[in-house]
């Protein structure tokens, strides 16, 4: 069961910056190539990267290069190509931060055709 609230999932197209910044998990909106369109406060605090720096950069090559493998980026690419991205898995981030186990949910919203990366520190 994903940690992402149904509220957020149902309103991805219209969620305001304030709403996403209030979430207690990371919310990153990316285009099909992984370029960051929105990067919320939780994710900024987790990664130590300000939204103003992250937005416009590529999640997989520049902001979170630790996701550059089949387990993470590979799943994203396959899901986007197949038009049915919805993957949940455990991961460990180690890039420029203390090693942090997280839960990840990759999701493509069919209604708005947008791609999302949700991240939450593992319990």
């Amino acid at each position: 069961m994903s940690f992402v609230s149904t509220d957020i999932i149902s309103n991805l197209g219209s969620a305001s910056r304030a709403t996403v910044d209030a979430a207690d998990y990371g919310i990153v909106k990316v285009d099909k190539d992984g370029n960051i369109l929105l990067y919320n406060r939780y994710e900024a605090d987790l990664a130590g990267v300000e939204p103003s720096f992250a937005e416009g950069r590529n999640f997989f090559t520049q902001i979170a290069p630790c996701s550059n493998n089949r387990l993470f980026f590979g799943k994203f690419k396959e899901g986007v190509a197949g038009g049915s991205l919805n993957e949940e898995f455990k991961y460990t981030f180690t890039y420029k931060m203390k090693p942090t186990p997280v839960d990840v949910h990759l999701y493509q919203d069919a209604a708005t055709q947008t791609n999302w990366i949700f991240v939450k520190k593992a319990a």
Partner: protein, 198 residues
């Protein structure tokens, strides 16, 4: 110290600074941070750039880094003495390579070669980090295993990498990141581009 700074001549100043720095480290270690900040402020006012070798030697000194490593390990609750020792040795080996390069190429005229060595170090260290990171997450995914030595080596390596990035400009970091994201395809592209031009 004030007189030393005010009468500074850039090339000889760096050597005098190094001697003073070593003396302070052994006699008044508690004064190091304040001295470093004062030096940085005075340098900015005088528009003097420290030789790269001096920057590397002081930025990657063991006493600068040990408190940071202790913080990383403390945050992760790593207190097995054998693990802590292995991680300290790993950290010191990484830092040592940087300092040895700076020591070998300490003359301002050596800076081009020193910068090249730093690029090689960066590529080596980031490549190793990519390998660690991939192994960590495959172990987690396939076996549910979490290897603290591997995980904390990745964390320490990445912290040193982040600090070294201050030596390069943003574009250089982006170019290296792009190359390292897919090194073989990037190398093929470069090879093809060079042969087309030729």
């Amino acid at each position: 110290m004030a007189n030393l700074l005010e009468n500074a001549v850039p090339t000889s100043w760096a050597r005098r600074f190094d001697a003073l720095w070593h003396e302070l480290r052994s006699t008044r270690p508690e004064a190091l941070t304040a001295v470093k900040e004062e030096v940085a402020r005075r340098l900015q006012e005088m528009n003097v750039r420290l030789p790269l070798a001096s920057v590397i030697t002081s930025q990657f000194a063991t006493d600068q880094w040990m408190p940071k490593f202790e913080q990383i390990l403390k945050a992760g609750d790593v207190n097995d003495p054998a693990v802590v020792q292995e991680l300290n040795e790993y950290a010191e080996s990484r830092l040592g390579k940087l300092r040895l390069a700076a020591e070998a190429m300490s003359d301002p005229d050596d800076e081009t070669d020193l910068r090249n060595c730093l690029v090689y170090w960066y590529v080596e260290a980031k490549s190793e980090w990519f390998q660690f990171n991939t192994r960590i997450n495959y172990n987690l995914s396939r076996k549910g295993e979490f290897d603290p030595v591997l995980v904390y080596k990745a964390g320490i390596g990445s912290a040193i990498l982040a600090d070294l990035e201050s030596i390069f400009d943003d574009h250089e970091i982006d170019v290296l990141a792009e190359y390292l994201f897919q090194p073989l395809p990037s190398a093929y592209e470069l090879h093809a581009a060079r042969h087309r031009v030729a």
